[in-house]
Structure formats: structure tokens, C-alpha cells
Subunit: 152 residues, 2 copies
């Protein structure tokens, strides 16, 4: 099954935007993401409607974050993307008349809902600031590992 990687892609975009001064053009982001500027605009349009970014036309225009990284959770971004389907698993029939199939679907749906609740709770608990800080941790971990390795 094909996977939707918009969330992963958008996080990447936003973290890079936060590192740059001033607005960033769709062309520049597209090069960073190795994709087409129109794809960037489509994604960013959703974020703009949810107030996470703003856009400016003309010379010196582009995209800009409207809040600090610590004020954007992964859940905010997921919602801004239109809450794309979480699961690759679904029901064969939407409203089956067969009672057995209804029962099977109900059970699957309950399990999926419980899992989705956990997922959204996790996304709500992480901000973009956390992700940025994690990079520092990773670098530190790496250095520690290297130190350990070279002294062993």
C-alpha cells in the first residue's frame, strides 16, 4: 500500500523554514525536498488555512511561519493537513447488511480507534521545538558513541 508522507515532508519543510531568515520561496523549498514547487504550494496552502504559515507574493515574497516552533505540535500540523487517513487497514464494505460482517467491522474499527487515540495523543505531546532539540541530542549521542569507540 502506498503511504502518505505529507506529515513527514511538512515537518521537514517547517524545520528548515525556521532555520532561515525571511520568507522562503516554493522553488527553494521544492529543491530542498526534491519535488515540484506546485506540490509545495498545495501542501502549504492547507497550512495557511490553519494559520500555521503565511504567504507573500511578488519580489521578496514566499512562505513564513506565523508562530514559534514551541507553539506548533505535530497534531496541529496533522490537522492542518486535513487529518489524512491514519490506517492502511479498512473495512471491505462500508455498511454491510450481513450481521457477521457488521460484527467483524465493529471490532476492527474499535481496535483502530483505540490505536488512533494513542497516536494523536503522541502527536499532541511533541512540538517542532522538541524535534529541533532532538537533533542536538542525536549529535551528542553520536559524539558520545565516537568517544566511547575511540577510547575502547
Amino acid at each position: 500500500m502506498r503511504q502518505n508522507s505529507q506529515l513527514s515532508g511538512v515537518l521537514h519543510i517547517l524545520l528548515h523554514m525556521a532555520e532561515l531568515d525571511g520568507p522562503v520561496t516554493s522553488d527553494r523549498l521544492a529543491k530542498m525536498m526534491k519535488t515540484n514547487p506546485v506540490v509545495i504550494r498545495r501542501i502549504m496552502a492547507g497550512l495557511r488555512e490553519n494559520g500555521l504559515v503565511q504567504s507573500e507574493k511578488g519580489h521578496g515574497g514566499g512562505w513564513r511561519l506565523t508562530r514559534g516552533l514551541s507553539e506548533m505540535t505535530l497534531l496541529d500540523i496533522y490537522k492542518a493537513l486535513g487529518e489524512p487517513a491514519v490506517f492502511a487497514i479498512g473495512n471491505r464494505t462500508e455498511s454491510p447488511t450481513c450481521l457477521l460482517e457488521q460484527s467483524a467491522n465493529a471490532s476492527i474499527n474499535q481496535a483502530l480507534k483505540d490505536a488512533e487515540d494513542v497516536l494523536l495523543a503522541r502527536l499532541r505531546a511533541v512540538t517542532l521545538e522538541d524535534l529541533k532539540n532532538d537533533v542536538g541530542d542525536q549529535v551528542r549521542d553520536l559524539r558520545h558513541w565516537n568517544d566511547h569507540d575511540s577510547t575502547a
Copy 2:
């Protein structure tokens, strides 16, 4: 995103098989499921490899359950299907060199893993027998609802 509905379909198939005496042909199952017999065989082949069903060729042949409904959990069936991808959400790049993207992916993956653990735990807790019994509950609920409705 397109959804994989094999789990839902297979539960439906197995519950019907348990209701019928003797082996059931792929053709008959295909008609029940409004699909093609080859699709049924493909799915059932996976279940057979995991010992959940057995097949017999020739006259009077077909598919048969190898255990009682109470000895088959939804997790057993999920595994027999080859543990298909649970999530429609994925990473944009498998092994990104960008540290920011690594951090974003790591966080998403952790959230997905937590959710997957919950999902599998739920699937492990439900047997086909439970699903069959749930049908009774639904019928009772419906009757209760109708009683309530008609006496209100």
C-alpha cells in the same frame, strides 16, 4: 489512500465458513463476498500456510477451518495475512541524511509504534467466537432499542 480490506474480508469469510457444514468452495465464497474465486484462493492460501484452514481438491472439496472459533484471535489472522502495513502514514525518505528529517521521522515512527502496539494488543484480545457472539448482542441491542422506541 486506498485501504487494504483483507482483514475485514477474511473475518467475514471465516465466520461464514463456521456456519456451514463441510468444506466450502472458493466459488461459493466468492459469490458471498461478491468477488472472484481466484482472489479468495489467494487470500486463503496465506491462511493455510499458517494452519488456520485446510483445502481439499476435487469433488466435495473446498476450504475448512482447522480450529474452533474460540481458538482464533484477530491477531492470528492478521499475522496469517502477512502482517500487512497498518498505517497509511509513512516517512518521506527512508534513510534521510538531513538531521532535521531524521529527527522528524524518529518522532513520527515512535508515535506510530506506540499506536501499533495498542492495535495489536486489541486484535490479540478478540477471537472469532467473540465476533459471533457480538452478533447476538447486536440483535439484542436492536430488539431493546425497538422495545424502547415502541414503548416511548
